[in-house]
Assembly symmetry: C2
């Protein structure tokens, strides 16, 4: 459990200080859903007029909260987000649906809004029946306790095996008016998001039409959260939601109404910065990691092929353990390219570990010096580059090594 | 390295004693290809008239020996098999091809046969240039040392991280005459064979037309070696070859000429028994394992979907570590079904751990008692069954748990 774990070597020395975003407030509570003696419930309240857009896991066994959120994205009106940790409320049958219903009904009653304006997410053990009443009971007091500055407390309340809270911030000018984008996320294991993420929540005072926001979020997720992997395992609960309050219009910020709006590019760039920052923080807190690894693939048949090859490299247990052992075992990169099933020209394949060319033209590079590359492997951040020699497809994905601590953490997660 | 490893808990108490097969002899040598102080070269000699059929890895970065063998399967005449351990001769460019050429040329010269009648396989480190001369230099003496009974020595010479030699035997009557099928294989890590295996070699005195043998081997590989996984990583060198000397015709055994031959079924059944035995021994020597796990999937859309779901379960790092921790964390089976991408009806899904129904109708089974199932998880052999509630597709695959020792073995394989 989280309490006994060593902090990630990539835990930030200090957490970013996020400012209050007009129209967004956070509260946390100890609802005892599963954990004892720590906060496990987070409420984010948003002003009327807020829109929400999001993406969720493609898992065929997704959780009840995921199914609920998918329905609400269709209209995208939002007043609140309720997230608990400790229980994923996944594979919990009718009781799971009831837990969502109880949660949103109580929250809507407390706030005086519609149930459909409440978004929910749950993270933790799969298959354990969840008592929605614990959340509902805590709601009235929780709703009174919210504060605009409580970002860090909110990020901490949704942690499971995370060793640090993950926060990110960007500011961008829209029509000469500064708007703020802030967010947080959680995740450390069961990380190979597919069209979404573990839990990630982003808030902004930007004014943006919901369909435009949805298009941006879907595209950005494809380049960020869908490009990270800790252990190749895809959660039943992955959810990324961006909430936009529109409150910056009070300060004369213009609304972004469509993709061709000149302000859309600037906003999209800032939003991608925040979401990518959060995604990389998930990898940097990968269960048991000692190394943060960037995998770049060039020369694939197309970008999709490049992504598959990069994921095949990033998910190879036998390569990830070699990286943990600081062994520049580039033959295992060759193996991973080969098993991906994508086209690769063995005799044009080239591999770099950081600045060091280790393989070229289908064999070990002429200038390869094992000792030099072994020295490079001692770094905390490793870059593996691979040119597969076929076409113009490129991809970058991020992962971590596979260590004894990953085994320890997951051998007794529930005990 | 092999020398420092604990034996698998599934290592056999005693090795099967294989009889001499008429027309087949084995020799081994210390050729110092990479290892010192142990045998690392194996020669199997077969009488003229022997046919060979095989399957090899589908890796796009397959080794030079794999490419050589594929060419020879087209005619299927065989006189010898040469296998070295320590160096996979994969991703070794022109030097790799030269090493094969030197090996087969010297062997053919020594035996007085054609180069195309020599089959080669190499296993060990990928990307290290290989000196074919070490094998060629050892060949003349090696060819003189062969003996019909030297099965165990042959199986030992091809080991890498294996903790025990893997041998299997069957006898079957063909037209009232007993024929023998014996084989051995190696493999412990980088095991997720695709259309083939790690290295597996089977010998028989049966008389069988090469095209018939090839069809049998391809089909059997699909049900055996292609259904095992240790770590989801597919080797560049996977090779399974069956050699049939036809020497049983001297004892009046009839030749099997086509698939509809009444003797074909009996032979195929015995051959599958030997190959399956070898495949399961690979899993039972999976690097660092403490548990042998059978995964059975029912109710999938079709057999192919069932196989994918079973492999998704068998390859999930987060589930495999839970099994190592003896934690009946069946929620991770739900996760693995969900991420497979294959159709599954969450509300009809049922999961058993051994005899214990743990989940049914989309939630935890009513009679589930954690303590009882946790007790079951202490066994060495675990069976996970899963009905996905869609159709009639079934599949069985075999795997092992993911332990600290897997990480240790692969963090310093080359050092």
């Amino acid at each position: 459990m989280a309490t006994t774990m060593k902090p990630s070597p990539f835990a930030p020395k200090s957490l970013p200080k996020l400012p209050v975003i007009d129209g967004v407030q956070f509260g946390t509570a100890e609802a005892n859903v599963r954990y004892k003696g720590r906060t496990d419930l987070m409420l984010a309240l948003m002003v009327p007029g807020t829109v929400a857009a999001g993406v969720t896991t493609t898992s065929k066994t997704c959780s009840a909260p995921v199914l609920w959120c998918r329905e609400q994205f269709k209209h995208g009106r939002a007043r609140a987000l309720v997230v608990n940790s400790g229980n994923a409320n996944a594979f919990t049958g009718k009781k799971g649906v009831e837990a969502v219903d109880v949660t949103v009904a109580q929250t809507a009653k407390t706030l005086g809004c519609e149930a459909g304006e409440i978004y929910v997410a749950s993270t933790g053990v799969i298959g354990e029946p969840m008592e929605g009443s614990r959340i509902a009971d805590a709601m009235p007091a929780l709703a009174k306790s919210v504060k605009g500055e409580a970002w860090e407390a909110a990020a901490r309340a949704i942690m499971t095996t995370d060793t640090y809270p993950k926060l990110a911030l960007a500011k961008v000018e829209i029509g000469g008016v500064e708007v703020t984008i802030g967010g947080f996320c959680k995740g450390a294991g069961m990380i190979a998001p597919d069209m979404a993420t573990t839990l990630g929540f982003v808030f902004t005072d930007a004014a943006i039409a919901q369909p435009v926001l949805q298009r941006l979020v879907s595209a950005i997720a494809g380049r960020t959260f869908n490009c990270i992997t800790v252990d190749s395992d895809t959660s039943t609960s992955d959810t990324l939601i961006v909430f936009a309050t529109g409150t910056s219009t009070k300060r004369k910020a213009p609304e972004i109404r469509d993709m061709s709006d000149p302000n859309c590019g600037a906003f999209a760039g800032a939003l991608e910065g925040v979401i990518k920052d959060l995604a990389l923080q998930v990898v940097k807190d990968g269960e048991g990691l000692t190394k943060f690894v960037t995998v770049q693939v060039y020369g694939a048949e197309n970008d999709r092929a490049a992504h598959r090859i990069a994921m095949s490299i990033a998910n190879s247990p036998i390569l990830k353990t070699a990286i943990a052992g600081e062994d520049p075992n580039w033959g295992r990169v060759v193996m991973a390219v080969g098993k991906s099933g994508e086209a690769a020209d063995r005799d044009k394949l080239a591999i770099w570990f950081g600045p060091h060319l280790v393989a070229v033209d289908g064999e070990r590079a002429p200038g390869y010096v094992e000792k030099t590359v072994a020295g490079y492997m001692k770094a905390g951040e490793i870059v593996i580059r691979c040119d597969v020699g076929i076409g113009g497809g490129v991809a970058t994905v991020w992962t971590c090594d596979l260590t004894h601590d990953y085994v320890s953490i997951n051998a007794d997660y529930r005990s």
